[in-house]
């Protein structure tokens, strides 16, 4: 993974069928990048569903959460509507996994993003990273600790 202190690589990915999101648009905010293998994991243990419930807490910290997987924008749209997600899911679809590769969290054997988290500061610098064991939803305690530590500086 990219080490804390590294400048977060810029990207521009589809957030909806007709919109793109660039990392630089979020300058001035903390950004939580959540790379995950695939849409449609079981509901009650789904990482994105969990972060969806936490938006209030993240916003209090001036942080935005963004999910990234190799699923297409149409798949993300259906998943997002089904789970009533209120934050963007980006499609790292073409060229497949290019952003995940830039962040060193692509699993070339499975052809999916690894389950990995980055917290980026207001200036676009990576401040925290975490690679989760396969099949394990990492929860949010690590993110919250990282956001708190950043506030102390």
């Amino acid at each position: 993974m990219l080490a804390p202190g590294t400048k977060a690589p810029e990207f521009s990915l589809s957030s909806t069928p007709d919109q793109k999101l660039e990392l630089s648009q979020l300058k001035g905010k903390k950004v939580i990048l959540a790379f995950y293998p695939a849409d449609w994991s079981p509901v009650c243990s789904d990482q994105m569903a969990l972060y969806n419930e936490m938006l209030k807490i993240f916003h209090k910290e001036n942080a935005e959460v963004i999910g990234i997987s190799v699923d297409s924008k149409w798949c993300h749209l259906a998943f997002s509507q089904d789970r009533k997600l209120h934050f963007p899911l980006l499609a790292d679809f073409e060229p497949k996994g290019a952003v995940a590769m830039a962040y060193d969290v692509y699993d070339a054997t499975l052809g999916e993003c690894k389950r990995a988290l980055y917290v980026i500061d207001e200036e676009g610098i990576i401040r925290w990273n975490y690679l989760s064991p396969v099949g394990m939803n990492p929860g949010a305690d690590g993110i919250l600790d990282a956001l708190e530590t950043m506030n102390k500086k």
Binding site: A49, K84, M136, A140
Partner: protein
């Protein structure tokens, strides 16, 4: 390893021997089918372990996917004000498919709560706040889905549906 934050206190709903050697904390959602499956499992464990086990339930409603989960949680806290938290907790898990407000009030009636008082308490912001606080404590403790269990303050990542759950708990009671 994820640790329970904050530790269990008298603000929690506690069942069993408060000075038991084993403390089991569940973060659960009343509308979650997995929590519904965990309910009889925990009951059986409580029966087997008797006064060796203290059980605590904290609320972790996933409101966006379970539209009744928050109100069901508030209903248990309102019942707690009439010392019937566990009665309501059990009754709700036994009737998980019907958790609309009218049903929750019917359950309060069935449990012989003072229904007028129950309805008044139901809309108190303190109770909604208690549920929110439970949720935030779960987030800070590393809850990653429901149900999540903490045993003596440490997150339990093993299987809770097999024998190993009881075996592990019993190994700590010795």
């Amino acid at each position: 390893m994820a640790k329970l934050k904050p530790a269990v206190s008298d603000k929690d709903n506690i069942q069993g021997n408060t000075s038991a050697p084993v403390e089991l904390v569940e973060y659960g959602d009343y509308e979650c089918p997995h929590c519904g499956r965990a309910y009889p499992i925990v009951k059986a464990i409580q029966e087997k372990m008797g006064d060796k086990l203290k059980f605590v339930f904290r609320n972790f409603p996933l409101a966006e996917i379970h539209p009744h989960a928050v109100n069901a949680a508030i209903a248990t806290e309102a019942a707690a004000l009439q010392n019937k938290f566990w009665e309501m907790h059990d009754y709700i898990f036994e009737h998980q498919r019907r958790l609309d407000d009218a049903s929750l009030i019917a359950y309060a009636t069935h449990l012989q709560l003072d229904v007028q008082q129950f309805e008044n308490d139901f809309s108190k912001t303190e109770l909604a706040q208690k549920v929110d606080d439970d949720f935030e404590s779960g987030m800070r403790s590393g809850v990653n889905g429901t149900p999540s269990f903490f045993i003596n303050g440490e997150k339990y990542n093993g299987n809770w549906e097999g024998e190993e759950f009881l075996d592990y708990l019993q190994s700590l009671a010795k």
